[in-house]
């Protein structure tokens, strides 16, 4: 669905600073792809290039990112370069930010923030119907209807993150990009949210790209994993294979550094969601 072809991305026009260096990658329909790496490895820059967010001086120096989206209802096929993705935002592509305190507009109720930006196809019906559908959707995340009438400061960190996942998923897009969606949360809440994301992806049969530095998160939900190091992809493949048999030294070190429980790695005791 997305093909990243030998792309080099960086910042600045005069003195170009490379952040992603000659990366190639294919993102398939109906899969959960993980991008892992330490901070500064270029994973967030790669994600922005895939999303098509070329503000604040980000630009592609060489190579290309192209997408091919088949609209689920009309069956219409859209092909575009990532620099043109802006018109597909909150239609074919949506995004889950890290749910910090200030990511939602403090003066707007949650309901309005869910609706703001929705494509026409998801807006149908009366305002009341729409609200009922959103409430039902949020119920799937364990959020009650009164969350819709709350302001962001009234929600806990976990609730805010669930709302952000719900906002992105309610769009019913072909591609969802998530940037460290569970980093700031405690493990129990984190697990709940990850399972919801998997459930949504299986239901909508679209593609979820998960960017996280936390290998435990990738182990729990991703189908395929890409490991980045210093702007390059050092290892890629099915998640289970990478964990069973890491090839690159950097990956080996990362996996070795995961916490262990009774001599086994903690991730093995958690199990993978269906």
């Amino acid at each position: 669905m997305i093909s990243v072809d030998n792309v080099t991305v960086g910042y600045g026009s005069a003195g170009f600073i490379k952040a992603v260096d000659g990366v190639s990658l294919t993102i398939n329909d109906n899969e959960i792809l993980g991008i892992a790496g330490e901070s500064g490895s270029g994973k967030s820059t790669l994600m922005r290039a895939i999303y098509g967010d070329f503000s604040t001086g980000l630009r592609i120096q060489s190579g290309s990112v192209t997408g091919r989206f088949a609209d689920a209802r009309t069956g219409k096929v859209i092909e575009a370069e990532s620099s043109q993705f802006g018109s597909l935002w909150w239609d074919q592509i949506s995004y889950i930010p890290q749910g910090s305190m200030s990511v939602l507009n403090p003066l707007m109720k949650i309901e309005a923030q869910v609706i703001d930006g929705l494509p026409k196809r998801e807006r149908g019906g009366s305002r009341k119907d729409l609200r009922a559908r959103i409430a039902a959707f949020l119920a799937g995340f364990g959020l009650e209807e009164n969350v819709l009438d709350a302001y962001p400061h009234q929600l806990s960190g976990g609730m805010r993150q669930r709302v952000l996942v719900a906002i992105a998923a309610f769009v019913n897009p072909r591609l969802i990009l998530a940037d460290e969606p569970t980093t700031a949360l405690d493990v129990v809440v984190q697990k709940k949210i990850l399972l919801m994301m998997v459930e949504i992806q299986r239901r909508q049969r679209n593609c979820l790209v998960l960017v996280s530095h936390d290998l435990g998160v990738h182990y729990q939900i991703t189908d395929r994993l890409v490991i980045m190091y210093q702007g390059k992809i050092v290892e890629a493949g099915p998640t289970a294979d990478i964990f069973a048999n890491p090839q690159h030294d950097y990956t080996k070190n990362l996996i070795a550094s995961l916490p262990r429980l009774h001599g086994k790695r903690a991730v093995e005791t958690m199990g993978v969601a269906p």
Binding site: S55, W89, Y95, P97, V103, D116, Y151
Partner: protein
């Protein structure tokens, strides 16, 4: 619950502030070496207004009555506060005897409020618009020019601007009337145009300064908000600039300015007083001025007390409204 406690607390402070202001007004005339009433009477009779002894005595009595000059200082003080707070009665005007002071004030207030409200509103809308756009694109030439203009306008006192405007548009180019003369039957079209025409320059002198101030502060706010995460998120949702500005930036830029407005009201009121005097505009400012010129002590105390109370009230009301508008304080 906390909100109710907050409001109750503010109201108590408000009452105390008003009492404090009235206390100041009570003691000010007593600070000087001369008896203000005798000085006033001397001034009234020196201006050639003929009064016989009985009338002067009646006046003296009325003055002493109004300002409670009988009894000990504390009794006087109590009588003064009681009179103003309970009856809002400042006695008859001395220069326009026997019209009650309150009636004169009642006729003047709509002019002052009308002038201040309209010009503040116009300046607020324009200033927000320009400040928002120039804060959104801070490095564009237009926004730099706008900020430059605002910086040059804001520090100028209202009366200087009023003077400049009247020199330019009434003396040099005789476009607008020099002094205010309102013509036309009540509620006729002629009256409306006459009011607008005569209020134009006084209003402009306030609009321009307040506009400069809004541009400067809204621009700074908007500039800071551009970097906010929720603005970035809104942009990544694919929302257009117009929607982001009106729904995300504007409300967050306006809210903190309400407290600035509270601090600015007194200065704006001061400015409008002088503007009214310079343009002969029939509001509270001109009334105060004529009271000073004619030594009308009752009118002077009435107008000054009322302006002090009005400004204090406006400041407190804005202070009180702020938490009602901010959901972060309203729903805690």
């Amino acid at each position: 619950m906390t909100l109710i406690r907050y409001i109750a607390g503010r109201l108590v402070v408000y009452a105390l502030v008003i009492i404090f202001a009235l206390t100041v007004l009570f003691f000010v005339p007593r600070l000087g070496p001369t008896d203000p009433i005798e000085a006033m009477l001397a001034k009234v009779s020196s201006q050639g207004a003929y009064m016989d002894a009985a009338q002067v005595d009646a006046l003296r009595q009325s003055l002493a009555d109004t300002f409670g000059l009988g009894g000990s200082l504390w009794e006087q003080y109590g009588a003064f506060i009681k009179r103003i707070v309970l009856t809002a009665d400042f006695g008859p005007s001395l220069s326009m005897y026997p019209t009650p002071v309150m009636e004169l004030i009642r006729n003047a207030l709509p002019w002052t409020f009308g002038l201040l409200l309209t010009s503040t509103l116009i300046a607020w809308v324009l200033g927000n618009f320009v400040g928002l756009l120039s804060g959104w694109k801070p490095n564009s030439p237009t926004s730099r020019v706008m900020e430059g203009i605002a910086i040059c306008l804001y520090p100028i006192p209202y009366y200087i601007l009023a003077l400049v405007l009247s020199i330019l548009f009434s003396y040099v180019w005789k476009i607008f009337p020099l002094t205010t003369t309102i013509r036309g039957a009540p509620w006729s079209w002629e009256l409306v145009t006459s009011v607008v025409w005569n209020s134009f320059l006084p209003a402009m002198s306030i609009v321009i300064v307040v506009f400069g101030w809004w541009v400067i502060s809204v621009k700074a706010q908007t500039n800071a908000l551009r970097e906010e995460e929720f603005v970035r998120y809104a942009r990544l949702k694919g929302l257009g600039d117009g929607r982001i500005l009106t729904r995300y930036v504007l409300p967050n830029a306006i809210l903190p300015q309400i407290t600035f407005l509270a601090l600015q009201i007194g200065l704006m009121f001061n400015g409008s007083l002088i503007t009214e005097i310079l343009f002969d505009y029939p509001g509270l400012g001109l009334l105060i001025y004529s009271a000073v010129l004619q030594g009308d002590f009752n009118l002077l105390m009435g107008t000054i007390s009322l302006s002090v109370i009005a400004v204090a009230t406006a400041t407190m009301v804005i202070d009180l409204i702020y938490p009602l508008l901010d959901p972060r304080i309203r729903h805690r």
